[in-house]
């Protein structure tokens, strides 16, 4: 059913259709409306047998979904920014315990200074936790990726948490037409959760044991292998999703106009539609430009990226997070994927803390790169000139 809805509703509705057993969350802007919608569904008896709990903190919410998942439940939570950072100790733990929790991150910048507006510093900051991360460009994609996230996370070859990253406000609060799924379709795709290990008096096991040096490393490397398997499982599930719904979101990356492009712009999340629009106009003007959308950020699709970018001499990476003191995060990963190729990479840091990314800015950068006017090194765009006052 196609409807114009706001992002948070599209997300909450997809969570409902995925039939979780336990939802635990704590409100934070801009995630709040997602959990408010779920709370309302719960209050109206629309969540089936699911239990919805408002925790005392995000730390508590994450710990609750961890416990619920260990007990064999399908568990969901959502958060943003400070909330995600507060969850981080639990999330590393949940990943190590191989619990297939699904989270939605309504992406928001991190404090200080406090800002409620969008960038992707929050989820980028916990990219090493062993959690699958997928960034969406629209509310339709967010809606579709939630059942898929459960399916992939719960696959016995994977068993890792899955994080669907949705740009705060820009998507979560935007009105967009969304083809809302129905229960029958979701049920066809997503079977009930069948845990491989759970807390069960009839078959007692200890979960969360500590591992001395003869074991620890193997457990951590096992997570790495699971991530590698997740990469394959995701591709299979993307295909099944397409067959079922007719919506093709592509693979881990989506390359548009890349084959013959001199310049390719790499983008993630809600800037993708803007970049796409710029690229298609420039194409009409006969410019050889392309776009690479990275959907899956963990597992990082190095092979796919290398393949898509092998002919592009110049690559612009739109960075909406920093790794302060080092190369911006996506650039570092893209460069490692391109290692040994002769490409030039232009990291463009922009849009932090909700700063607008105007179309002209994207156009200008592409033009400048084509004309050789700027160097392949980190630059900040949309930044005011400033002087730090240290009294």
């Amino acid at each position: 059913m196609r409807k114009v809805v706001r992002g948070f509703y599209a997300i909450a509705e997809a969570v409902r259709l995925s039939k979780p057993n336990v939802i635990a969350a704590y409100p934070i802007t801009p995630q709040t409306e997602i959990v408010e919608n779920l709370a309302e569904m719960y209050a109206n008896g629309e969540l089936g047998d699911a239990e919805y709990v408002t925790a005392e903190s995000e730390f508590g919410a994450a710990s609750m979904v961890l416990g619920a998942s260990a007990a064999g439940a399908r568990a969901f939570t959502a958060t943003s920014s400070q909330g995600l950072l507060l969850m981080s100790e639990v999330l590393y733990n949940a990943a190590g315990m191989r619990l297939p929790i699904v989270l939605v991150i309504a992406n928001r910048s991190v404090s200080a200074p406090l800002s409620i507006w969008n960038d992707i510093q929050d989820s980028i900051s916990i990219r090493d936790a062993g959690i699958i991360q997928l960034y969406v460009e629209s509310n339709q994609e967010a809606h579709d990726m939630i059942p898929l996230a459960f399916k992939v996370a719960e696959n016995r070859d994977v068993l890792l948490p899955f994080m669907v990253c949705v740009d705060g406000f820009k998507l979560t609060h935007a009105y967009e037409p969304v083809d809302l799924l129905d229960q029958e379709t979701v049920d066809k795709f997503l079977p009930p959760y069948n845990p491989v290990v759970k807390l069960d008096v009839n078959n007692p096991v200890a979960m969360g044991c500590y591992a001395p040096p003869p074991y620890y490393m193997e457990f951590r490397v096992a997570m790495e292998y699971a991530m590698e398997r997740a990469s394959k499982v995701m591709l299979q599930e993307f295909k099944k999703w397409y067959k079922l719904t007719g919506r093709d979101w592509g693979g881990h990356v989506v390359a548009e106009n890349c084959e013959d492009a001199e310049v390719v712009v790499v983008a993630m999340g809600s800037v993708v539609p803007l970049v796409r629009e710029v690229i298609s106009r420039m194409r009409q003007d006969g410019k050889r430009v392309g776009m690479l959308k990275i959907r899956t950020y963990r597992p990082f699709p190095s092979r796919e990226i290398r393949k898509a970018l092998k002919n592009a001499g110049k690559i612009i990476v739109i960075e909406r997070a920093l790794s302060i003191g080092a190369e911006p995060p996506v650039t570092a990963d893209v460069k490692s994927a391109l290692f040994g190729l002769n490409s030039e990479v232009y990291p463009v840091v922009t849009g932090l803390g909700g700063r607008d990314i105007p179309r002209e800015l994207v156009e200008r950068i592409i033009e400048d790169v084509m004309k050789g006017k700027i160097k392949p090194e980190k630059r900040y765009e949309g930044l005011n000139e400033f002087e730090e006052v240290i009294p």
Binding site: G96, L159, V197, V205, M207, G208, C209, Y215, F219
Partner: protein, 97 residues
């Protein structure tokens, strides 16, 4: 070499009884079955537990499993009839000459 078996996420079935912690201490508890009144105090209090109750005909008494006795003296202190004796293990008996 055989491959290591890793239960997912460091989960593990119960298996600590393979740990014979009876070799930790320098002493072991011995219960005199004649004196024992089968009150169960040593069983309630043994932290390991290394103590258990056995029945022999109509005689009931507590015994110590030396595979797990750490020689902590707790049972000794709670036995109401002084039926428990702590004995130094042979290897810790130093001959003074």
């Amino acid at each position: 070499m055989a491959k290591m078996k890793l239960y997912i996420g460091a989960s593990s079935p119960a298996m600590s009884s393979e740990m014979k912690t009876g070799d930790w201490g320098t002493e072991l508890a011995y219960i005199d079955k004649e004196k024992c009144i089968a009150c169960g105090q040593c069983i309630t209090f043994c932290p390991e537990p290394a103590t258990s109750m056995v029945e022999e005909g109509d005689k009931k008494y507590a015994v110590v499993d030396h595979d797990y006795c750490k020689g902590c003296w707790i049972c000794f202190t709670v036995c109401p009839v002084d039926a428990i004796e702590m004995k130094t293990k042979e290897i810790y008996k130093v001959e003074v000459c």
